[in-house]
Each structure stands twice: as structure tokens, then as C-alpha cells.
């Protein structure tokens, strides 16, 4: 493998994976904050407003980290993937530029009002500010998924004589079926993260016997949102995604399951390690005929194996793709189990006394981050060896004018920078969680800047 190509791939993979730690929480928390504020308006109970303010502070810090790690992503199409940018800019930059024009301006304008304007706007006006920040962050997610969706499943384009692409339909790019399916799957994944984080902080407060009233609100809202989003994640969104992928990226589907040979009544592998030399699965635990059923709705259908595709069209790292997919799907199933148990206890009014369940909720919050990351790895490793599926190979897209050493230098720079950023963010988040949601005892100063630090 060409060193420079590998490093450019690693560079993008590292910076985008790190970046996505933050937006998944902001996009997941935004609707939950709107729900808390709605509950506050409906019931008149000030605890909901305090809870909303607490999560707004967490949101602000996360949002900032998302902004500063997101800016490099927009630049990296050009810096590290110049040939790709040159060829596809006339299509893919439509959603990329629309994100800037339609959602970043919206978010940045209303974020200020959302973070600073509660007194000035009044409860109803402030609800709208929160709602518009939610809309802005979800629009932002949409445009990025639309850009990725086009790379996964190119539509509404025309190729010009020089090989470049131009858009033929404004709505075609935005209403790409792949994009719509991937978007709802991504967004409910973000809500899973938001819900687990909210429930975890609530469980922590209850177990530590602090801020008990807020803790109960966090756990209740987190568990109800969590069960809804975890179920939606599997059905219908994950199911639709799997079927659409099997129809349009059959080689990827085969690699995700490490299905080396076409099989009628194909089994689903629960556990096992793909052996690329012998083209088998080691230590397999399988459910017979389940894969055929999941994709085609019948246990006898034939699923195409990797043997149906020329090896140069196989995803370049089949084991990584296989493991990413299995981690995502396995954790997704586990989330339903955890949240269903918690929801059942909540319904029986036994959750707040069930310390074992609170322990599970408190400790479970890292796993949605892992599942979301694994999901994106599945999508992007699965897209290989293509940048634009079926049309432009990855090795045709990187910046050939940037040497491997320079790429390594900036990759190391980003690693150092992000290590430092992680320390600051974790310190500030831990501090907010320790201070808790009570307004009393907090300095009466208004926040001075967007992440909610006080003047």
C-alpha cells in the first residue's frame, strides 16, 4: 500500500472519528433539552428548568469541542483529498456548503440566545431558542450525511469530459434514498448516546445520593428516550439500512458478514473471527438461515458471497469491517436489553430503588459512543475501495502533491492537539457534573462566552 495514501486515510479517519465524539452528544442532547424545557413549561415544575440548564451547560462545552474539531474536517477534503475534491466538488460541496450557509449560521446565532438569553427571552422565547439550536444541529447532521450518502450511493450527477461530476438536480442530492435512511439511523444513534449519557449522570447522582430530584428526572427522561431510540435504531432504521445496502453494495454486505461463498439460506454469524487465507470463520457461533431472512424476508434466499466479486472490488479491510459491524449490531442489541429492563422497572416504579440497574446505567454510557463509532466505520470501511461507490477509487482521490512525511507530521499534530483538548473537556465536564444542577451556590454572573463560562 502506498504510504501516503494510507496516511491520508488514517488522517481523515482519526480526525473524523475524534470529531464525532462531540456532535453525537450535542445532536442527542438537543432534543432531550427541548423535552426538558417542554416539561418545565407544561408542569410549571422548576426542577425541569434546572435540569435543562444543567444539560445546556454540558451541551455548550461539547458544542465548542464539536466546532473546533469540525472545522478541520471541512478543510481536509481539500488538504488531504485534493483530487477527490477537484472531481466531485460540483456535487458534494453542495451539501457541504449548505451546511455552512443553512445550519452553522442558524446554530451560531441561536446558540448565543440559547446560552445567554433565558432571562431576556422569557421561558417561551427561550424554548424557541433551544428548539432552533436543535433544528440547526440536526440540519447540520443532515447535510454531512447527504455528502457521505452521495459517496455511498451517487445520484443526480453527470460526468463531464474531464472526469469531474456536476449536479443535475438540487433535490436529487438531498433526497437520495441512501441519505434518508442513513440520516434517521445516524440521528437515532445520536439520541441513544444522549439518552445513555443523561441516564448515566442521573444514575450517578442517585447512587451517590446527591441531587436526587434531578437524578430521577435524568434517569426517567434518559430511559424513556433510550428505549425508544434503541428500538428505532434496530427497527425500522437499521433493518432498512441493511436491506438497502444489500441491494446496492452487495460486496460490502458479504464482507460485513464475512460470507466468503454465496449461500442459499445464509446463516448469521454472531461470534467468530474471519480467516482471510482459508476464507472461513474461526470459532463460529451462527444462527442458521437468519441472514437470508433479515435481508430477503425468507429463509431460503441466496445471499451473494465475496466469491461473486473480483477481489479488487472487495472492501480493503474485510476483518475490520466485519468486527465494526458486529460490534455495532451487538451493542445495539444490548442497548435494547438494558433500556427495556430499565423501562420495565421504571414502569413498575422500582427503578430508583434498584441499585444494580442504576449501576448498569451509570457504567453503560461509553458503549453508545463505541457503537456509533463502529457504525461509521462499517459505513466508511464498507465503502472501500471506493471514494464514490463504483465510480472513483480511493487511490485516485488523495493529495498526491502532499508527501507522506508531511501527512504524518500533521496527523501527529492533531493527535497531540486532541489529547490536550480531551483533557480540558473532560476536566470541565467533570466539574459541571460535580457542581450539579442546583442553581443555588452558583455565582450569579451571566455566561460570557458560548460554552457557558461565567464572566
Amino acid at each position: 500500500m502506498n504510504d501516503a495514501l494510507f496516511l491520508h486515510r488514517l488522517h481523515f479517519a482519526f480526525t473524523v472519528t475524534y470529531h464525532y465524539i462531540f456532535p453525537q452528544l450535542t445532536m442527542g442532547l438537543a432534543p432531550l433539552i427541548v423535552i426538558l424545557k417542554t416539561l418545565g413549561l407544561r408542569t410549571g415544575n422548576p426542577s425541569y428548568h434546572r435540569a435543562a440548564r444543567f444539560w445546556t451547560r454540558i451541551f455548550g462545552i461539547n458544542f465548542l469541542a464539536g466546532v473546533v474539531t469540525g472545522i478541520p474536517m471541512e478543510f481536509q477534503f481539500g488538504t488531504n483529498w485534493s483530487r477527490f475534491s477537484q472531481l466531485t466538488g460540483g456535487v458534494i460541496a453542495q451539501p457541504v456548503a449548505m451546511e455552512g450557509v443553512f445550519s452553522f449560521f442558524l446554530e451560531s446565532a441561536f446558540l448565543g440566545l440559547f446560552l445567554f438569553g433565558e432571562k431576556r427571552l422569557g421561558p417561551k422565547g427561550h424554548w424557541w431558542a433551544a428548539f432552533l439550536v436543535f433544528v440547526g444541529s440536526w440540519l447540520s447532521g443532515f447535510f454531512i450525511v447527504a455528502a457521505d450518502g452521495w459517496m455511498q450511493h451517487p445520484v443526480a450527477y453527470q460526468r463531464l469530459a474531464d472526469g469531474s461530476f456536476q449536479v443535475t438536480s438540487f433535490w436529487g442530492v438531498l433526497a437520495n434514498p441512501w441519505t434518508l435512511i442513513q440520516y434517521v439511523h445516524t440521528m437515532s444513534g445520536a439520541v441513544v448516546t444522549g439518552a445513555f449519557v443523561m441516564a448515566a449522570v442521573g444514575a450517578f447522582y442517585l447512587l451517590a445520593n446527591r441531587h436526587a430530584e434531578a437524578g430521577r428526572i435524568f434517569v426517567r427522561v434518559g430511559v424513556i428516550a433510550g428505549i425508544a431510540a434503541s428500538l428505532f435504531q434496530i427497527f425500522p432504521s437499521g433493518d432498512m439500512h441493511g436491506k438497502y445496502m444489500a441491494a446496492h453494495q452487495p460486496a460490502t454486505t458479504a464482507a460485513m458478514e464475512a460470507l466468503f461463498h454465496s449461500t442459499a439460506g445464509a446463516p448469521m454469524v454472531i461470534l467468530g473471527q474471519p480467516d482471510m487465507e482459508k476464507k472461513t470463520i474461526d470459532n463460529p457461533i451462527v444462527v442458521n438461515k437468519a441472514l437470508s431472512f433479515l435481508i430477503y424476508g425468507t429463509t431460503s434466499a441466496e445471499v451473494k458471497g465475496l466469491d461473486q466479486f473480483p477481489p479488487q472490488d472487495w472492501p480493503t479491510n474485510v476483518p475490520l469491517l466485519y468486527f465494526s459491524y458486529h460490534v455495532m449490531a451487538g451493542l445495539g442489541t444490548l442497548f435494547v436489553a438494558i433500556m427495556a429492563a430499565a423501562a420495565l422497572l421504571l414502569w413498575k416504579r422500582a427503578l430508583f430503588g434498584a441499585r444494580w440497574m442504576l449501576w448498569i446505567l451509570m457504567l453503560a454510557f461509553p458503549f453508545p459512543y463505541i457503537a456509533n463509532t463502529a457504525g461509521w466505520l462499517t459505513a466508511e470501511v464498507g465503502r472501500q475501495p471506493w471514494l464514490v461507490y463504483g465510480l472513483l477509487r480511493t487511490e485516485q482521490g488523495f493529495s498526491a502533491n502532499v508527501s507522506a512525511a508531511n501527512t504524518l507530521f500533521t496527523l501527529l499534530g492533531f493527535m497531540g492537539m486532541y489529547a490536550l483538548l480531551s483533557i480540558f473537556v473532560m476536566f470541565l465536564l467533570a466539574r459541571q457534573i460535580r457542581q450539579g444542577p442546583e442553581d443555588a451556590g452558583r455565582p450569579g454572573r451571566a455566561p460570557a462566552t458560548l460554552s457557558g463560562g461565567e464572566a
Binding site: P72, F110, L160, V167, S399, N401
Partner: protein, 346 residues
């Protein structure tokens, strides 16, 4: 159609420099002009609610460039690889400098983030100034319209120049003076008392330097690339632009003396906007000129995306930017007036 998009991208970049310019300038002056903890908080409060929105102009401009002129986005971003990545790191430092300082009242914590904010602001202005210098001077574009610029070579703007040479360093110094001035005039508009008085003194001292540097930079630009005057020769009406630059400079001095804080700041906006417009007119129809063989220059015709992309884009861009300008107006009108300790957004 290409010319329309050239103007739109130029307009967005002007919007970026005029808006983010004042918070970058405020950052550059942060350690010098604001001495006490209270004053530094005021500086942060004066830009706190708007800096992020200002930075969005750069992102939106970058996205628009990517869409309308994919080749120039691809070539310049990869060619200026090292400088751009340093810019990205500086932007991270600057953002956390602004945002994280205010979370803790500890003096060491605050000092660290004040330093990060100010140093990163200064270096960003230097890099942006040098970037403009690089575009005016041209880069060593190959026949495939790509290049890779070292951070510096022999510091001479010859056929194979680095990102930093004497000319681009001069541009960086001018940018520092111009954007520093812009930041000072903005902070004068937003503050009172001792800080305000100190900034006024600073503006009065900085002004002659800015006038002198602007003149030197203009002469140096013509020396480095005489063909930048071609458009002015063929369309003399374009000389109105340098006249506006001069008017902006005069306005800064006049209104600072007469106490017209808002007009002084607007004069600075005019100065920056007209300087950049002058550069855009001089470059047209090139987007990125070649320092060696003019045949390799990237022009509008070579870089523009397909005709369908350009006409479809006009619709969403127009609607989106109209809404975005609406937000900008609303935010600034809610945030008008002086900032006072702990008073933000009331």
C-alpha cells in the same frame, strides 16, 4: 456565471475578514490593551456571543469555493498544506482560549487561556495576511495546476517561493496593523472608561503606521507582480477602490478624533473591504496565479464547476445567505451597546 461566483466568494471572504477581523484584532490586543482581569473579561464579553458566528463566514466561504471552483479549493488547500494545518491548530487554541478561560476564576488558569487566545489570534492574522500575499504573488503551479509550498525557501518571491518571503511577511505585518486597528476600534465601540481611553491612545499611535505600511505594501505588490495593474489600466473606474481605501483610512483618524466611535469602526470596515476588493479586481480572472509560467495560472474558466452546478447553486446560495445575513443582523442588534462586567446579553 463564473464571474458571479468569483464575486460571491470574494464577498464572503470580505464578510469574514470584516467580521472575524475585529475579534481576531481584539485577541491580538488582548494582552497589551486589557491589563486587569476585569478588562480582559470585558474583551471576552465584547466578542463572546459573536466570534463563533463570525468564524462561520470562513467555513461558508470555504464551502462555497469548494462548490463553485473545486480545482482552486483542491489545489490551494493541498498546496498550502502545512500553513493551513497550522491555521487549524491555531483556531482550536484560540477557541478554547476564548471559551475555557471563563469557566474558572483561578489566576493561572486565566493567564494560560489569555495567552493562548492572544498568541493564536496574532499568529492567525499573520497567516491570513501571508495567505493574501501568496495569492497576489502567485505560487509555483505545475502544468497540472497543483503545487506544494514550503513554509519558506530563500525568502524571495521568485519563481519557486515559499509561503513566507519578504513580500508575504510584509503583507502579514500590514494585516497585523490593519486587523489590530479594526479590533481596537471595535473594542472602543464596546467599552468605556480606562480601557476605552487606552485603546484610543493606541489607535492614534497605530494609525500613522497603518497608513505608511499600506502605502509600502501597495508599492511592493506592484513591484512583485506588475500585471496586477492590468485591470486598473483597462478599466480606470476601478481606481475608485483605492480611493475608498484612502477614505477608510482618513475616516478612522477623523472619527476617532471627533468621538464618532461607530463611524470610526465603519471606516475600518470600509478600509478592509476596499483593500480586499482591490485585490480581487487586480487578480480577476485569475483565482490563483502561477509564479513561474502564466499558462499554469488557475483562472475562473479553468476552475469553475459545471454549468449546471453553478446555476443550481445560485438558488440555494441566495436563499441561504439572505437568511444568514438576517440572523447576523438580529444577533448584532440584540448585542449592541457597551458591555459592562457581568452584563452580557441583557
Amino acid at each position: 456565471m463564473g464571474t458571479i461566483w468569483f464575486s460571491l466568494v470574494a464577498l464572503m471572504l470580505v464578510g469574514y475578514v470584516v467580521l472575524d477581523g475585529f475579534d481576531l484584532g481584539a485577541g491580538a490586543l488582548h494582552l497589551i490593551a486589557a491589563r486587569t482581569d476585569g478588562e480582559r473579561r470585558l474583551v471576552l464579553e465584547a466578542i463572546g456571543p459573536v466570534w463563533d458566528g463570525n468564524e462561520v463566514w470562513l467555513l461558508a466561504a470555504g464551502g462555497t469555493l469548494f462548490y463553485a471552483f473545486p480545482l482552486v479549493y483542491a489545489s490551494s488547500f493541498s498546496g498550502f498544506y502545512l500553513a493551513l494545518n497550522i491555521v487549524l491548530w491555531l483556531m482550536v487554541f484560540r477557541a478554547i482560549g476564548i471559551e475555557f478561560r471563563t469557566h474558572l476564576a483561578d489566576p493561572l488558569w486565566c493567564a494560560f487561556f489569555d495567552g493562548a487566545f492572544s498568541l493564536a489570534s496574532i499568529l492567525l492574522i499573520v497567516f491570513f495576511g501571508a495567505a493574501l500575499g501568496n495569492v497576489l504573488r502567485g505560487v509555483a503551479l505545475g502544468p497540472d495546476h497543483y503545487f506544494f509550498a514550503a513554509l519558506w525557501t530563500d525568502f524571495r518571491p521568485g519563481a519557486n517561493p515559499g509561503i513566507l518571503d519578504w513580500y508575504t511577511i510584509l503583507c502579514a505585518v500590514v494585516a497585523l496593523a490593519a486587523v489590530g486597528m479594526h479590533g481596537a476600534l471595535y473594542l472602543i465601540l464596546k467599552t468605556e472608561g480606562e480601557l476605552n481611553a487606552r485603546l484610543r491612545t493606541l489607535v492614534k499611535r497605530l494609525w500613522p503606521a497603518l497608513v505608511g505600511l499600506s502605502g509600502i505594501a501597495l508599492a511592493a505588490t506592484v513591484l512583485v507582480r506588475p500585471s496586477l495593474l492590468d485591470n486598473y489600466r483597462s478599466a480606470p473606474v476601478a481606481w475608485a477602490i483605492p480611493a475608498l481605501v484612502a477614505a477608510g483610512l482618513a475616516g478612522m483618524a477623523y472619527f476617532t478624533r471627533s468621538g464618532g466611535e461607530r463611524n470610526a469602526f465603519l471606516s475600518s470596515c470600509l478600509y478592509i473591504g476596499a483593500t480586499l476588493a482591490g485585490a480581487a479586481v487586480a487578480l480577476y480572472p485569475a483565482l490563483l496565479p502561477s509564479s513561474a509560467d502564466p499558462a499554469n495560472s488557475i483562472t475562473i474558466g479553468k476552475a469553475a464547476a459545471g454549468a449546471a452546478s453553478l446555476s443550481i447553486g445560485l438558488l440555494w446560495w441566495g436563499i441561504g445567505m439572505a437568511i444568514a445575513i438576517g440572523y447576523t443582523v438580529v444577533v448584532y442588534s440584540m448585542f449592541k451597546g457597551k458591555v459592562r462586567a457581568g452584563s452580557s446579553y441583557h
